[in-house]
Structures are given as structure tokens and as C-alpha cells.
Symmetry: C2
Subunit: 483 residues, 2 copies
């Protein structure tokens, strides 16, 4: 076990921060609640961006860029929206050496300013749908910051679409929820439940909010992505109106959806272990590291390093990208070099010592299970490809098993209270029938010491008696404590 | 000539704005001096990002993200830096519903906050060099905004590196200047001169600034990218110190370098014509458009569209990306559909009418010269590839010829005055020997009605008598009026 990392079991919060520090993923910035995403962390974000961006484009979306600053008056046009976001806003009052006539807020999200622009771009049904996404940072002032999970500034994407019919906007909302779920599962190895949010957890200004919910290593839920059906609320507030096919004026139907650098937090709290980061191969910036080892400088330069670089080129060609690296930190002890990459979550390590060189067989170690095997030069590219796939599958399988093992049906309020009690052997996701009000949900939060409805799974249409009201025809929901 | 575009010759400024509007590249935002980069413009920016990002990574750089907000006190630590940037800063005074103890500025550039972080990451020479780049937006309040050229917020990349020796930092400064020059030439078809800036035009806080300078269609210069040698100025201000190989403490040597969405302005003012945008194929988001034309709906669905989509797939495969599109705007007249893509700068248009379908030969039109030819189905992929290369080369050649035709040697102050006079038949780049002071340069600016030293070309070591002081051993510089 790593000396620089507190164990997961003894202190999950400290373990999380230690993993981030050991892998050099991020630091707190000299600005309250903000973070610096260091190259190791940003490399993961670039890969996350790439897989989502490709999926957005495949579903017909294009990228654009809207201004960072939003006139304060825009926020006020949608009553729920300003109530939800105003307390978190950072406000610009001076610029260019002068006091501004009207203050600007730094975007906490861009529905308002994008709504304003759409109103200028849309006249006829032919101008719809608009399917735009934006990659940027947003600012929401945080009182209790936590790297990647809650920071006053974070990186994200926000999709904003406008449609001529309610049905089309609803279909878009679900399509993007589905894209999120699929990418999280296939690329990030994160099993997620997806469903509708209760009124308490709805996006300010939305008619409905849907989310992907993942279970972290401490059995708490993390909201990993959201997709909002905004109805005509923002279209009315910003006058996104158009002439429909019948020549009548109508308001557009809009959606918005987003994922953020929070996903890096989800990756850590799902896959990392007491030695440090563990990355799913599909989004790991470095997938394989090759480590030449010898005390003989001549042998390193003349024999080991050329072979290591040869293997690196073979792997990069087989993996179709610059994913393999040769470690040349010869001033460090071999064990420290192994540990260096292990703590950074590199999925596969190849050790190339003098013995390995002479035998033309390498020691190959996988990060997730620590299993070692010896592979010949000829077989290495194929074997590493298979290993990477195995590791990806294994991480997903382990995470899903963990989640399923910690998901239980709960049939009464008493059981629910017990489920979330501090000394409970359970905890995790409680599946229960519920049809209570927002106040009832808040009461449950008090009773359980913090559990809320994470979502009402959309693919679960079973019904039963509400654990709170006893109403016989309640929907099934997931209760959990959440980040 | 396009009715919605003022001619270049009659009003260059209005022409520029008309081209942007016709191609839907950008709009002014509802925030003073800020812009919205619309999908057509952002697609160009994504391609510009891709070619530069690849070159940065090939030269060993990695990406990271630093906070948007910078404590005001950080700006004040470097005297020249604060003097240069403070008047342009946007200031956050309130956040989270409270007045801040210390105001933050929105980054106008990130040397200060990055310097602060580097001071924490660097202890020994082994921690150097640090080679980091950041893609983000910055805010510099503009009194006279102009889309892409001068906006209060713009998108850019800022590279920030730290080195253990002066020589290495200088080599980095020149390496990045060279990368800029090469990418602008090869990918953006922009011929650029590169050289050192005079003291008047130096980055606030730099020891030396180098730039790439391009000539626009109105013969004015545009600074297209800059690379700064920062000496130890920021390292001293932020205490980026390290133990060198001899065990002594030393300050690091730093550089910074950037290009921005201004490059889109450069593309327009270099390549566009009186019909609208013309894009170099290598950075055009859509490189080929195929336009099926018939009044017979059945023929379109059963014959023309399937063939068009077949050609599209062939082209995408040959071009190795999703670069070809089929136009399905059948509600528009053919001429309007041609014009639609022409104004957006699509390099190659393929017309597929009933005659073309029957003959299995298409009319292929290139955007830059309007030349038409008929190409058979079998030959189309190869021919389009060649055409795209020809267009790219032709755009570069035309731009270089224009620049060279408008670059002249000027041997005296009188000649220089005449060169830049309003009724001059010349104008453009004036190559002259100059060794005067900053005040002398300002005097020349007054005399010529605005011409300044754009750069002192680094590959020009000829010497001659200064046009201002008469000093016999002056360096050669380029004078021009500039954006």
C-alpha cells in the first residue's frame, strides 16, 4: 500500500484527495474554491471531451461559443432561474477602468444569453431545430469546494437546442440522456442509472430534469450528467418565436444538457484503489509504459532503449495513437519508477530488464489486478491490445457488481431509516416506491440524515405502495446520499 | 457580385463585416464588445485548434487549465505587466452574494497565476522544463470592438514554459515562432513575416517579443501570433526558483506565446472576395458540397440523392474525415443553393443535375477561381483531392504575390511619408533601415499618419543608414499601418 495515500477504508475523503495529489491531477488555485487542472488531469479531460464530442457530432450537433459575461437583467427574466443561480454568481462591476452601468455575471450556465441569440436567429420553422453545443468553463461560487466535484469554476459542455415541437424537444432530451449513459458505460467504465429528477432536484427553469447517477466507492451517489426539458419557459422569456408550417407564430421548445470535469471525480471514486489512480484504458492518456532497467548505461543506450522504443512504435501503431511511452527516469530506483506510473493509473506496465532483453520476453503487469505475465516480442502488440480490453471490461464489471451489491429494495420508512443509519451494514442505493410531495421528500432527508431521491429510473415502470404516504400506485425511485 | 456584400474596393471595413454576416461566422453579443462565434466560425476555429495543438504536442507540450480569475495583487507584482493590462481588465467585486475582500480580475493573460503555480511545482532542475499550453478565453475591455480582430473577450491558446537556462528559454521562444510561421503558411495559407518587435510594441513584462505579421487585403498589417522571451521577470515576481545541477538556487527563465480567434479575421481579410468567404481547404470544415438538382421529387429520392451520398462517402473516405456534404435544400432555387455554399467559402462544389446523372459526369466548380470542369464518377475522388491541394496552393501563392507586390524598399523619411500618404499609389509594407529610439518611432507614426514598426525580420541581417537618424549601421525593419 502506498505511503502517500490514506486508505480508502479508513478515510474515504482523505483517500480521494491523496489519490489526486499522488497522480498530480489537480491543485487548489490561489482563488477561493477554484482549481488548477494539471496536465495529467487535463489529459483525461481531453479524452473525455473527444468521446463526447464525437457522439454529439454523430447526432447532428455543432459547436459554437457564447460570451462569458451575461447581463444581470437576462438572469432575471426567468423567475426560477434567477432564484436558483443568483446566490452563486460572480459579478463584474467594473471594466476598462470604469464602473459598468449594468453589472454582468460570469455565466453559471448559458440558457439566458443563448436564448437571446436564438431569438435573433429563428424566424421560421425552417430555422429549426438548432442543435448547438459549447465547451467552456462556468462559475458557481462554492462554499465547500472539493476538487473536481464542487469547484467555484469548472470545465464542462452545455448543449442547447431549440425545436418546433414539444415531441421533438422531448426526443432530444432523451437522446442526449442516452448518449451520456452509453459513453459513461462504454468509454469511462461507469455504470449509471438514468431517470427523472424529483421537483426538489430539478434545474431552475426546467419542466423536467433527467440525470445519470453513478455509485461511488463509499456507496454515495454522484450525479454524472443531466439533460433538461425546458418546455417553452426560456423561449417565452427570450422570445424565441417562429412562424410554423401553418403560418402561425409559436414559441420554440428548448433543451439543455451537460457533463463536466466532475466526471474525473467519478472516475477516481469508482476505479482508484489504495495505491492510487486506476484509469479505464479507453480514456487513459498513457495506456502503456515501457520501463528499461539496467545499471549499465551502455546497455541502456545500445540495447534496452532501442528495443523499448521499437516496442513503443509497434504499440502506437497497433493502438492507432501516441498511447505508449518509454520511461527514462534512470535516476530513480526501478521500484519507484513502477510506483510512479502505478499512482498515475497507467493501465499496463512493461518491464524490460537485462534478463528480459536476453530472453526477448517482457514482464507485463496490468494495473487493475497486478497480474504479471511474460510475453514475447512477437506477441506483445496483440497481447497488450487484448489486455487493455480486458482491463476496460473488468473495471466496468467490478463497478457494476459493487453497485448492484449495494442496491436494495426498501419497503417501509422504518427500513429506509435503518438502511441509511450510521451503523448500518447496508447503505448505498435504496429502491423504494414513493409518491410523496417535495415536503415529504425533505422530511425523508431529515429522517435519514441526508438521503434524497437521486432519480426515478425511466426504464422501471413497476408500481407499489408509497413508503411515506401509503398511496398504492407509487413510482419506483432511488434514494441515496449524494455528492 | 453578391448583393448582400459591399465591394472590397469601395469599403473594405464594410466588406469585412458583410462577409462575416453572409457566412454566419459571428455576431456581436448583447455584452459590450463581445462576440458570439457561430457554428460556421467555430468550425474553422476547431480546425485551427487541431493543427496548432498537434504541432504543440509534437514539440513536447501538454495542455492544462488555470483559473479564469486572478487576484488583483498578482497583477501588481510585475510593474510593467500591471501598467499594460490594468486599464483593460474586467473586475469581479462580488461573488456568492457577498462583497469580496480582494477583487479578482478576469484573466487578460495568465503569466501571473501560472507563475504562482509554477513556483509551487518547481524545486529542482529535474522539475524543468515545464512545457504547458492552455486553450481558453481571455477578457481585455475594448473601446473599438471589431469582430475577430478586437473583441472584449476572445478565444486563444497561451503557452507558458519555464526553463533552467536562458539559452533553452530563447530556443523555445524561437521554436514556437517557427511553429506559428509554419502552420500559418502550410495550413492557413497565410504568408507571414516574422521578427522581433520594437520596444513600443513589446508585451508588458517581456524582455523580447517576436511576432508573425501578415498583410491583409487593404495592405494593412495584422499581428497574427506572438512569442515572448520573458527573461527572469516573472520568475522573480512569483519566485519560480530551483536548485540547479551545482546545488545553487536560481530563478527559472520563462516564455509565453499565443494565437487567437484573430486568425479567423486574418483568413477573411486575406482570402475572401466580393462574393464572400474563401477558405483554404486544409482548415475548411466543409471541403466539398454535392448539390442534387431536379424538379422531379422521385428522381431526387431514387436517383440523384443516392448517387450524391455515394460520392459523399467516397470523398469522405478519400479525404479521411467527414468533409463532404450533400445539400438537400430543395425548397431553394439552384442558383441560391450554389450561392449559399459559395458565401460560406466551401472550396469545391459538385453539381448533380439530371443531365449529369445520365452522363455520369458531374460539374465540379472550384471556389477560388470559379473554374468549372466535368468529371466522371470514377475519377471524382482523385480529382477532388488534387483540386483541394491546388486551391490551397493557389490561395497561398496569391496572398504571397499580393504581399510581395506591396512590399517596397524605402530609403528616406520623405519617401516613407509619401509611401503612406492617403493619395499614395503604394502603401503596404515599407522595408527600411532604422535605429532610432522609441520616441523617434512615435514621431514616424505621427508623420506617416499611423505607420509603426511591425517587426525586425530575424532572417534579415543586412545593415544600412537609418532613415531617421542617419546612423550608418541600422537594422532593417518593416513599417506598416496595422490592425
Amino acid at each position: 500500500m502506498a505511503k502517500n495515500i490514506t486508505s480508502k477504508e479508513s478515510n474515504f475523503s482523505q483517500w480521494y484527495l491523496d489519490v489526486i495529489k499522488a497522480a498530480q491531477l489537480a491543485d487548489y488555485a490561489p482563488v477561493r474554491g477554484c482549481m488548477v487542472v494539471r496536465p495529467n488531469g487535463y489529459g483525461i479531460w481531453e479524452n473525455i471531451q473527444a468521446v463526447f464530442d464525437r457522439a454529439f457530432k454523430e447526432t447532428g450537433h455543432v459547436n459554437a461559443y457564447f460570451p462569458l459575461l451575461i447581463p444581470n437583467s437576462f438572469m432575471e427574466r426567468e423567475a426560477e432561474h434567477v432564484e436558483g443561480f443568483a446566490p452563486e454568481c460572480a459579478v463584474v462591476t467594473h471594466a476598462g477602468g470604469e464602473k459598468l452601468e449594468e453589472p454582468y455575471v460570469i455565466r453559471p450556465t448559458s440558457e439566458t444569453v443563448i436564448g437571446h441569440m436564438y431569438s435573433q436567429w429563428v424566424q421560421s420553422w425552417r430555422d429549426l431545430p438548432i442543435l448547438i453545443n459549447q465547451w467552456c468553463s462556468v462559475v458557481r461560487w462554492e462554499k465547500r469546494p472539493r476538487l473536481f466535484l464542487r469547484t467555484s469554476e469548472f470545465l464542462w459542455q452545455e448543449g442547447h437546442t431549440a425545436h418546433s415541437t414539444r415531441e421533438e424537444a422531448f426526443a432530444e432530451t432523451f437522446q442526449m440522456l442516452d448518449v451520456y449513459q452509453r459513453i459513461m458505460q462504454e468509454e469511462l467504465a461507469l455504470p449509471v442509472l438514468y431517470g427523472e429528477k424529483s421537483e426538489n432536484e430539478r434545474f431552475p427553469g426546467a419542466d423536467n430534469t433527467y440525470s445519470c447517477e453513478a455509485m461511488m466507492g463509499d456507496k454515495k451517489a454522484l450525479q454524472a450528467g443531466t439533460s433538461h426539458f425546458l418546455g417553452q419557459n426560456f423561449a417565452r422569456a427570450f422570445n424565441i418565436s417562429f412562424q410554423n408550417k401553418n403560418g402561425e407564430m409559436d414559441f420554440a421548445w428548448t433543451t439543455s444538457w451537460g457533463v463536466s470535469t466532475r466526471l474525473i471525480g467519478a472516475l477516481i471514486m469508482t476505479h482508484a484503489d489504495n495505491d492510487g489512480l486506476v484509469l479505464p484504458p479507453r480514456i487513459a492518456p498513457v495506456k502503456v509504459v515501457i520501463i528499461p532497467i539496467s545499471k549499465d548505461e551502455r546497455k541502456i543506450k545500445d540495447e534496452l532503449e532501442p528495443l523499448a522504443e521499437n516496442i513503443m512504435r509497434q504499440l502506437n501503431s497497433a493502438l492507432n495513437g501516441l498511447y505508449a511511452q518509454v520511461d527514462k527516469q534512470y535516476h530513480m530506483r526501478p521500484a519507484d519508477r513502477f510506483f510512479y506510473h502505478l499512482q498515475r493509473g497507467v493501465p499496463v506496465r512493461i518491464e524490460l530488464g537485462e534478463g528480459e532483453y536476453d530472453a526477448r520476453k517482457f514482464t507485463v503487469v496490468r494495473r487493475d489486478t497486478s497480474e504479471k505475465e511474460r510475453i514475447s516480442v512477437e506477441a506483445i502488440a496483440d497481447r497488450v491490445k487484448t489486455l487493455l480490453k480486458d482491463i476496460q471490461d473488468n473495471l466496468y464489471y467490478k463497478a457494476r457488481t459493487f453497485r448492484d451489491d449495494n442496491t436494495h429494495d426498501v419497503l417501509s420508512l422504518g427500513e429506509l431509516k435503518e438502511f441509511f443509519a450510521k451503523d448500518s451494514s447496508k447503505g448505498g442505493f435504496a429502491r423504494a416506491y414513493f409518491s410523496g410531495s417535495s415536503d415529504d421528500e425533505r422530511d425523508i432527508k431529515d429522517i435519514t440524515g441526508g438521503a434524497t431521491i437521486r432519480c426515478m429510473p425511466v426504464d422501471d415502470d413497476t408500481r407499489g405502495p408509497c413508503i411515506y404516504t401509503g398511496h398504492p400506485d407509487a413510482r419506483r425511485v432511488i434514494f441515496a446520499k449524494a455528492y
